[in-house]
Symmetry: D3
Subunit: 223 residues, 6 copies
Amino acid sequence: MTGVRDVLVLAPHPDDEVIGCGGSIAAHAANGARVTVVVVVERERSGFDDDVTDEEFAQETADACAVLGVSRCVRLDEPSRDLRSSRRLHLDVVRALRETRPQVVYLPHDNDDDVEHRAVHRLGVEALWMAQSSFFGEAGEPMSAPELVLGYEVWSPLARFQHVRDIGEHLEAKVAAMGCYRSQLAHARWDEGVRGLASYRGVLTSGGGHAEVFQVLQVAARG
Amino acid sequence: MTGVRDVLVLAPHPDDEVIGCGGSIAAHAANGARVTVVVVVERERSGFDDDVTDEEFAQETADACAVLGVSRCVRLDEPSRDLRSSRRLHLDVVRALRETRPQVVYLPHDNDDDVEHRAVHRLGVEALWMAQSSFFGEAGEPMSAPELVLGYEVWSPLARFQHVRDIGEHLEAKVAAMGCYRSQLAHARWDEGVRGLASYRGVLTSGGGHAEVFQVLQVAARG
Amino acid sequence: MTGVRDVLVLAPHPDDEVIGCGGSIAAHAANGARVTVVVVVERERSGFDDDVTDEEFAQETADACAVLGVSRCVRLDEPSRDLRSSRRLHLDVVRALRETRPQVVYLPHDNDDDVEHRAVHRLGVEALWMAQSSFFGEAGEPMSAPELVLGYEVWSPLARFQHVRDIGEHLEAKVAAMGCYRSQLAHARWDEGVRGLASYRGVLTSGGGHAEVFQVLQVAARG
Amino acid sequence: MTGVRDVLVLAPHPDDEVIGCGGSIAAHAANGARVTVVVVVERERSGFDDDVTDEEFAQETADACAVLGVSRCVRLDEPSRDLRSSRRLHLDVVRALRETRPQVVYLPHDNDDDVEHRAVHRLGVEALWMAQSSFFGEAGEPMSAPELVLGYEVWSPLARFQHVRDIGEHLEAKVAAMGCYRSQLAHARWDEGVRGLASYRGVLTSGGGHAEVFQVLQVAARG
Amino acid sequence: MTGVRDVLVLAPHPDDEVIGCGGSIAAHAANGARVTVVVVVERERSGFDDDVTDEEFAQETADACAVLGVSRCVRLDEPSRDLRSSRRLHLDVVRALRETRPQVVYLPHDNDDDVEHRAVHRLGVEALWMAQSSFFGEAGEPMSAPELVLGYEVWSPLARFQHVRDIGEHLEAKVAAMGCYRSQLAHARWDEGVRGLASYRGVLTSGGGHAEVFQVLQVAARG
Amino acid sequence: MTGVRDVLVLAPHPDDEVIGCGGSIAAHAANGARVTVVVVVERERSGFDDDVTDEEFAQETADACAVLGVSRCVRLDEPSRDLRSSRRLHLDVVRALRETRPQVVYLPHDNDDDVEHRAVHRLGVEALWMAQSSFFGEAGEPMSAPELVLGYEVWSPLARFQHVRDIGEHLEAKVAAMGCYRSQLAHARWDEGVRGLASYRGVLTSGGGHAEVFQVLQVAARG
């Protein structure tokens, strides 16, 4: 996809951006687009990973972003399992959108099987509307409509999808970015999981290869 | 799963039984169960595969069944794209059920993205009810309720599932069975697709390995 | 929308193409695209309009098409209230798609409150898949994927939509095309109805003017 | 509709009562009913309308109510984008219901495309149940069931509806009431939008004229 | 409910009219209304009830109708498990509606867990629209809109309902009518089942007694 | 159901455990299982039942538990109508689960017609996932997956269900347990209501007798 200058990805937790649309991020970056990732929820603090410092944890996201060619990563550090919808949080996302002024936006699809993913879907859809309205001046100047807003799949694969992207050239970058999340791989081999899902999606849509599929939330008329 | 003597799999087309539950079939067979596969729709006749004879086409299913350890394969040969719900077709499935008297039944889940898969789901659910009723004596004696009725995924992965089976030991059998469908692989590399989906499902449910997931349509109380 | 050479509109009955996407059709034609309209169901024959001959009735559609700039109108003449899904009917639509090879396709959305509209939605979605597959050679050579497949609203306005087109410049053509359906206007003033809906949609999406809104069923990656 | 003495309209924001059921309000008032409007959310405070004072803003609602013949307007002044479900808020609505003891109640329908509209729908349904129960004495005496509870459409027109009201005689009052919301019209011409939607609904349901359509949430047996 | 002169009940099979709305039928009849029952599907012919003759079977319905005070019973005798939607069948129902010109109509609700119940729901909704249109003159003169169209529950109780009728005075008539279906009671004690469901519905809606609950499909404005 | 050692029932309010699954609780206890009931919401405090002391109110639950054979009752005392999802509340349920380590879990089904029932459904599903994960060590050691997780019906009977339990032997215990909720029976005769629903479910599923039906949320593979 050429001609795209700015992309924004809204991720509930670190690594959702890789699982959901890592191949597409790498493709955008390879085509010269600036990609901004906004991570909503802070690190889960339940005493499990005591041997991973906060610095090491943050470095994982930074490494994954570097592998994919992400230009900027914004952390909103909302509390895990205490995520609340609020005006303040909506304005944080509106501000990120208005600063970025993206042509393409990615967020979790509307039915993902994780309560925080669905909350971030609703947050993103609402913030997109707010960012385009003439209100909410405290969060910057109104932006125009993105050309494409897409919902990605993490915990619940989509039963129906309206957009497919071949990620054959960027599969290894996606898997390598996943591999940067070392503390996460200790629990689950998502590096293998993303490869598997991409293969299934490739066979389903093109008879082979690797793909990411998306729910289309908005597509603009083309000039 | 031990203690299961008879299993029935309802497949819209040849190869759906492998994609949807090939690993589970192999596991049942390995545990000594007799597995019956009922294929509803006949070969698509659009002149595409002129170089594959009907005998060669039928042999693909036979080979796949042999790899998985299927005991019996029943073909109903309903016309492709002209599949109609009818009393006659329902009774055909009732008869297969009453002959088999299965403890476990597999059929497509209720929202698969193929019109004939959804039709076969409805056919199976209806026939299960009919087979247990005291009516329809022309199709055999009433059978008792299966212990487990499961919906499998082919074209639309399930957004929510209620049952998981680890197929790590039977993955290669599943892939090999898929490989028997040579005329199908010429169009789409489903052998790679089933491996990918099983890997994604394994990571999602157990942090690694390979799994099949199912919609639960009925589970009996255990004695 | 420039760069579009061919458009196909699937209409259950004459006049649905005007109500659902008449403004968009006029816009496509004004931009130089060839537009093909496929009408699925034949004239309702219940003795009501005895004073309108079949020739007069057919002329209404021809007149509306001329107003909008439609290049070609195909009539499938399926029986009203006896519409059946069949292989033959699917192949008729596949043939029209493969002859047209459209970049943009319009059909009724998936939840319109008319049983024949929903049947034509399913018919169109299925035929689109068939037309792109390598099977069904008796209905022509496989076509490539359209860039955009859209569902339009007639009896049930969309609760959510993913695409908007400003039809301000083509509103009067749409209303005039509606006016060609003289025997229909005798029952219901759809010329006023389409103006009203377009105004509501314009206010909702742009604060004023006139618009048509659509369900997005497929959008291709852009080169 | 004669014989109705009291009507209550629950509106998320000022002007929703006009868009959703302004024609019906005018009809009730013309028939002698007392109409109470309860507005839930306070004025959006994002610095946009600096040149409109709070007094001017409040006057718009008062003017619109006067045009429609509303007897009483209650403002709950909940914070915009920070609306929270709470016992206190539910009791505020229960109190308004028990004071009014309406035969007809209007609230947003259950699927309107605005997060605060859906929240107010749930609030209204819950408060209706609470108001009829023998609990919650701190908010007044239990009221009896309304004869009719209706969901109105604003952002998402209804895909299916169960009740239609011809508002031909009251259309101009509805449009004039909309015109009172001067600061709102500066953003979007809802005066034109409500006329358009009413025309579309009239054609759809009666072949012409103007109508409002509703989701039926409760209808009492008639004596 | 007084002032109702004519009622039409659409039943998929004999006894559905009793289970779904037998108490309401008795109430209508007690208030002087003429009630017409239209049974769509003929007797299931699977050799089960050889000792019940067709005359005896038909007499069961006649007896149940007599108990409830039904004025007229129309049998359409569509084939069981081979029920097809067709123009001819729709016109049969249109004709019954236009002959009856009912103020209140009952049909199965839209999600009952029986494929023929859902088919008869769609048939009824479509036929109601057709009966009110100015087309289809071969099936009689257009009728005006009923005041109330209600969906009743048989196999799937309603998760949400919009109308309740207290049937305390008519419960015994309902149970007695159910008792007339002797060949059916030999399989399932629906006489106890209807009493149980009515008790649950009474407690849920009024704290005790017996009730029938309904999905509201249409309610007319009252003069 | 033999072989079950521990059962956990999550109830929004006192008495939901009886209405939803009281017969199954009695059956589990009769088979030797320890049953833990977790009640989430505290007593409604609206001044209604001034003549019932808190001690008397608490005794009702204790009595009902004693009748059914419940081993332990945990009260979380969340505020009524102010129930909020929070990390703290989730951990409270995780702790109860990890202490109990149940083979069978009961919670309200996903669509019950009460906002607090749906909130407790989501709470339970989330807590089940958390309790099995290796995180959240502050709430105990990870537990293994239950064999069966079931959703029960209170305010909205299930339109589809996947599990049935014959409660014929335990019906009187269920009714007697309901009778212990004396302050509740003063408002609504739920003792009659549960008998009625169980009779309807028995006839529907077995042709007679009494049953409880459930939504299956998870069923483990059997060894």
